[in-house]
């Protein structure tokens, strides 16, 4: 038997429920256009009759006891979120690549702006004029000026590429990395708030929306996975905790956020210009290993575990050099060829140095000094005032006499791939020392590092064509162009006796340091060689060789200038990898076409990603977006149910009125 007044209780729950629904509808309408807002709903349950378990059923029909508000919840599907974030990672990554490639495309543009090809034409014109007016000095100058114009263009291209590199580096450092770190920190902070609210029974729906927005943004930088764990907080209450993981290439995972705990990224520039990304714990210490997949990290370095997203694309464009990346085996071979030669010490630098020690002639000291400086490092070698003694100073400040009045030093080289290589020195005083660890610069130090330190070169080098590739192409063009023209104009092999070009700094010729040779600059008469034929007919054919070089039909192999492998001696003795095959005329248009093809492929990919992101987003909106029509219906509906519940209460009141006021008044 129900108590008399229980009906009022039922009516009250009905009124409450209707009011809650009206308010939620209001909240939904108010946030219809708020970014990231998720449609909310009131969870209602009907309350079962309380007597349902009584052993002795009174036989009366039991009636439920009204409606209960279970809480406010959201219309949201975490699977859609996962899909959205995956797609967003891919899209953001391709957009970075598009950005960089569009910059490069405009630098190497040959469609509207044909600077380089115009410059080559001007040279060709000048050479032809020279051939028509041979042995005329003013036409020699015309050729020189045409060449200067070309060199100026090469230099400006080089500057522009370097600007792209520094821009992208700063975008990565001050944009992507900083934003990622902020996001990581804020998500962790929010998660802490959400957990605390949850414990106290507050759904914190608006905070959840904010966190989801941030996770979406984080997914544009890194390939992440979001996991929700249910944890008990005692007395039967459970709450959700969030975990965000960075996904590596081979299934390895690195935890980024564990509810309120978070990690940070750090960008470091390596000495070779590569950008390194480190994963750090909150206290600044490097993360030692992956959290699943058993991968050890060297100083928190995660470059090779970033496989998608904006940061990974930045790294790809900034660090990878396509065919210019030589893998370890190649470098090893190059160095062996250089230091050992096929017949060991005969032709290598060790033998060269020993020969210099043994046959030192003080009148020749300048040349000797410069050779030794390039081998041992420029700070390490010095010469006495009377030019009779040459002294080697190691990085600890100890000195060894390479040559003096009493005798000379001897270098020894031994070892193999497995046990390592050792460069030993017995100096003029008879003191013996192992040079491996005490030389800092120079070809010997570099070669020893390359030969002995495997971890630097062991990783397989990816060969995406980043900015470095195109910079390398520019240098390769410049180097090959200079080399070809120098050799045609000279009658001797390198070093050329009549070079047209040389480098500003004495290093190998590249786009940023090429200039007209001083000899040509200072020449008082025609400097271009007329012919190299001797005897027979007098002909002026050499300029025709230059002309034929610049024709579209004349194609060459272009090699990397090998500056990836070292400097000084090394560069001259080792040709780099084969990079390209084309004519000078087509070289730049082909770079343009390369970039264009790559760009159009990535553009198509990006369109695909963007379309599928749109369709996922539409699905998300379909579920979570607010529809004004629906909310209007809800308003009408819950307004009615509020009225109905209220009417129920007055009805009850009227019924009770009868019972209380009218019953049992007979005979009064």
């Amino acid at each position: 038997m129900r108590p008399t007044f229980s009906g009022f209780e039922v009516a009250k729950t009905g009124i409450n429920a209707a009011r809650a629904n009206l308010q939620v509808a209001g909240q939904n309408i108010a946030n219809a256009n708020t970014e990231g807002y998720t449609r909310q709903r009131v969870d209602l349950y009907s309350i079962a009759p309380s007597g349902i378990n009584m052993r002795y059923n009174s036989g009366n029909t039991l009636i439920g006891e009204g409606v209960k508000i279970g809480g406010i919840s959201q219309y949201r599907d975490i699977f859609l979120d996962t899909q959205y974030r995956q797609q967003n990672t891919l899209l953001a990554g391709s957009q970075i690549e598009i950005d960089v490639l569009e910059d490069l495309e405009s630098i190497f543009d040959s469609v509207v702006n044909s600077n380089i090809s115009d410059a080559l034409n001007t040279i060709l014109d000048a050479l032809n004029e020279f051939s028509k007016n041979n042995s005329n000095y003013s036409y020699d100058s015309t050729v020189k000026n045409a060449m200067k114009n070309m060199l100026g263009l090469l230099d400006s291209l080089n500057t522009q590429i370097e600007r792209v590199i520094s821009q992208q580096t700063s975008y990565l450092e001050t944009g992507a990395i900083k934003d990622t770190n902020n996001l990581l920190q804020n998500i962790a902070f929010l998660s802490d708030q959400i957990k605390k609210s949850n414990i106290s029974g507050n759904g914190a729906l608006e905070l959840l929306d904010q966190r989801n927005l941030m996770l979406d943004r984080l997914s544009s930088y890194l390939d992440i996975e979001v996991v929700y764990n249910i944890v008990s907080v005692g007395s039967g209450v459970t709450v959700e905790e969030i975990e965000v993981n960075l996904l590596g290439d081979n299934g390895e995972k690195f935890n980024l956020i564990s509810n309120s705990e978070y990690r940070q990224l750090e960008m470091v520039k390596a000495t070779n210009g590569d950008i390194l990304i480190r994963l750090l714990n909150k206290d600044g210490s490097a993360v030692a290993a992956s959290d699943s997949g058993n991968v050890q990290l060297d100083g928190g370095l995660i470059n090779h575990h970033l496989n998608a997203g904006a940061i990974s694309s930045y790294l790809k464009m900034l660090n990878e050099n396509g065919a210019y990346d030589i893998n370890h085996a190649d470098i090893l071979n190059l160095h062996k060829k250089f230091m050992l030669g096929s017949d060991l010490l005969d032709t290598g630098a060790v033998a060269e140095a020993n020969a210099i020690f043994a046959g030192y002639d003080p009148s020749n000291w300048q040349q000797v000094l410069s050779t030794l400086k390039s081998l041992f490092g420029s700070d390490a070698v010095s010469i006495s005032a009377d030019r009779t003694a040459i002294i080697l100073t190691d990085k600890n400040g100890n000195t060894y006499r390479l040559v003096d009045n009493s005798g000379h030093a001897v270098l020894t080289f031994s070892g193999n791939d497995d046990e390592g290589y050792v460069l030993g020195l017995t100096d003029a005083m008879g003191e013996t020392v192992n040079l491996n660890d005490i030389l800092e610069n120079g070809d010997f130090a570099r070669s020893l590092v390359a030969l002995n330190s495997k971890e630097v070169y062991d990783t397989t080098v990816a060969t995406a064509k980043g900015i470095g590739y195109y910079k390398g192409m520019l240098d390769t063009f410049t180097y090959t162009f200079a080399e070809m023209f120098n050799s045609i104009n000279s009658t001797s092999g390198p070093p050329y006796d009549k070079p047209l070009f040389e480098s500003i700094d004495g290093g190998p010729i590249a786009a940023g340091n090429i200039k007209i040779s001083e000899q040509w600059e200072n020449a008082l008469d025609v400097y271009l060689t007329a012919t190299k034929q001797t005897g027979t007919n007098e002909v002026f054919d050499n300029v025709q060789k230059m002309i034929s070089l610049l024709k579209d039909g004349t194609e060459f192999d272009f090699f990397a200038p090998a500056n990836t492998a070292g400097s000084g001696h090394l560069q001259q003795s080792i040709p780099g990898a084969l990079i390209h095959h084309s004519s000078f005329k087509s070289f730049f248009t082909q770079i343009g076409v390369d970039i264009g093809l790559e760009l159009s492929t990535i553009n198509q990919k990006a369109t695909m990603y963007s379309n599928s992101l749109d369709s996922i987003d539409s699905k998300r909106y379909a579920l979570s977006g607010v529809s004004e029509d629906e909310e209007a219906i809800n308003l009408v509906m819950y307004n009615r149910s509020l009225a109905a519940a209220s009417r129920f209460m007055t009805t009850l009141d009227e019924a009770l009125e009868n019972i209380i006021s009218r019953m049992g008044i007979v005979g009064r």
Binding site: N33, S363, L623
Partner: protein
């Protein structure tokens, strides 16, 4: 699927943007008429376009080369025609009459003086300059090729009859580093010609320094202190180490001894050995000189040697036309000397008709050879003319091809633009009606 107003608005704005972008692309195309402005818009067409452009550029150079040669040849041909008419003027009939001894001395001397004039005119004509080039200088066109000394004709310092050089003084080699002149002396000019002079700063030295000659690399390297003067450079050069014994170091001088040295590298050029009088020269070699020009015949090398049928030879050595050397009987072959010989014989009081005859015969023979050469020259001009025609046809074809690959027809471009404009306007109009009233608007 559930549709919300927010979704509709998002889709609409995205599509409107897309439509605007297409409109923009179409407008750019209508303005610059290019099918693509970036390689990435149409890589394959770009590759084609670049090929055509290269071909076009090269062809333009060939045309300009061929036209230049043509104008040179027109000038040369007119000079040769002048010579032709002059020789004709010498009038073989008159000469034959003279030989028959039927003429008086006064008549003979009149003919002789006519021949003398023609003789001079031949030299002047063969030294004709076109622009800044001497037409008949063979491969060296910056100096007049012919000169006359003591009645002897010289072609580039070689006697055209005897093939022997006249005396040519040695030239000194001079080096220049930013205006600082180093003279190596007339005696050393040839020996040090082609060396590289490298004046280097060595901070360890105070002022004066030293110089080293390297014979294999052909370099002279001078090391000097920072405040060295030209006099100290001269001193260093005069005490140079490793110089060959034949070089007289004391002849090396530097201008402006008191000024500070300019550091740098330079190529030493301009020096040559003197040639003693009577040194045998090679006229046949000079008559066959070549100066090659690329007029689109394929320009190829066989190893180091140029294939001469792939280029055009633009050298016209004068002696090839007017003759050189002598016959077995010692009779000169060139017009100048022949005319001179005949003239002096006609002038002589006791005129020897029989002795003059071989000269007249030789003149006639050389004239016939000259005519053959002239015809050959005409054929060469014809060839150039045809080549120019062919190249110009190619030029026209390439322009057409390039137009087809790179450019759009304006009608199509503008039509396309109008179409895009129409669809953008339609999209805009739709947008106004897109956001329909909701149920909320109807609630009382």
């Amino acid at each position: 699927m559930r549709i919300t107003a927010g979704m509709i608005a998002r889709h609409y704005s995205k599509n409107l943007n897309r439509s605007l972008r297409r409109l923009n692309d179409a407008s750019i195309r209508a303005i610059n008429r290019r099918k693509f402005s970036k390689v990435s818009e149409d890589p394959l067409a770009a590759i084609k376009a670049f090929r055509i452009r290269n071909e076009y550029d090269e062809n333009l150079i060939h045309i300009s080369n061929a036209q230049d040669i043509q104008s040179v040849m027109v000038a040369a041909e007119s000079s040769l025609m002048t010579i032709n008419s002059m020789i004709q003027e010498a009038n073989f009939d008159d000469l034959v009459k003279g030989l028959n001894g039927t003429m008086q001395e006064t008549d003979r001397s009149a003919i002789a003086s006519k021949l003398r004039k023609i003789q001079e005119a031949v030299v002047t004509t063969m030294n004709t300059k076109f622009g800044d080039q001497y037409l008949f200088g063979g491969a060296t066109k910056n100096e007049p090729p012919f000169s006359v000394e003591n009645g002897q004709l010289y072609y580039r310092n070689i006697n055209v009859n005897t093939g022997l050089y006249k005396e040519v003084p040695a030239k000194e080699a001079v080096a220049n580093i930013r205006g600082m002149r180093v003279h190596f002396g007339v005696e050393n000019g040839a020996a040090l010609n082609g060396y590289t002079l490298n004046v280097q700063l060595d901070e360890t030295l105070s002022g004066s320094g030293y110089a080293v000659l390297n014979d294999t690399n052909k370099t002279i390297t001078v090391y000097l202190g920072g405040n060295a003067t030209n006099a100290q450079l001269q001193d260093a050069l005069q005490n140079m180490a490793n110089a060959p014994a034949s070089v007289d170091l004391s002849k090396i001088t530097v201008d402006n001894p008191a000024s500070l040295v300019c550091f740098g590298k330079t190529y030493i050029d301009g020096g040559s050995y003197g040639i003693a009088e009577g040194t045998p020269g090679d006229l046949t070699l000079l008559a066959n000189e070549a100066a090659y020009i690329d007029i689109g015949l394929g320009l190829k090398f066989n190893g180091q040697e140029i294939l001469d049928n792939t280029v055009y030879n633009s050298a016209f050595p004068g002696i090839d036309f007017i003759g050189y050397g002598t016959t077995e009987n010692g009779i000169p072959k060139n017009f100048y000397t022949l005319l001179g010989e005949i003239a002096s014989r006609l002038e002589s009081a006791n005129f020897d008709a029989e002795g003059t005859k071989p000269y007249v015969q030789e003149l006639e023979k050389q004239y016939n050879e000259f005519l053959t050469k002239l015809t050959g020259f005409g054929a060469k001009s014809n060839f150039i003319e045809n080549t120019i025609k062919r190249l110009e046809d190619l030029d026209y074809n390439l322009i057409e091809k390039s137009d087809a690959v790179e450019f759009v027809d304006p009608t199509t471009a503008i039509m396309e633009y109008k179409l895009m404009e129409y669809s953008y306007n339609a999209a805009l109009q739709m947008g106004v009606n897109l956001l329909q009233p909701t149920l909320l608007d109807y609630l009382r």
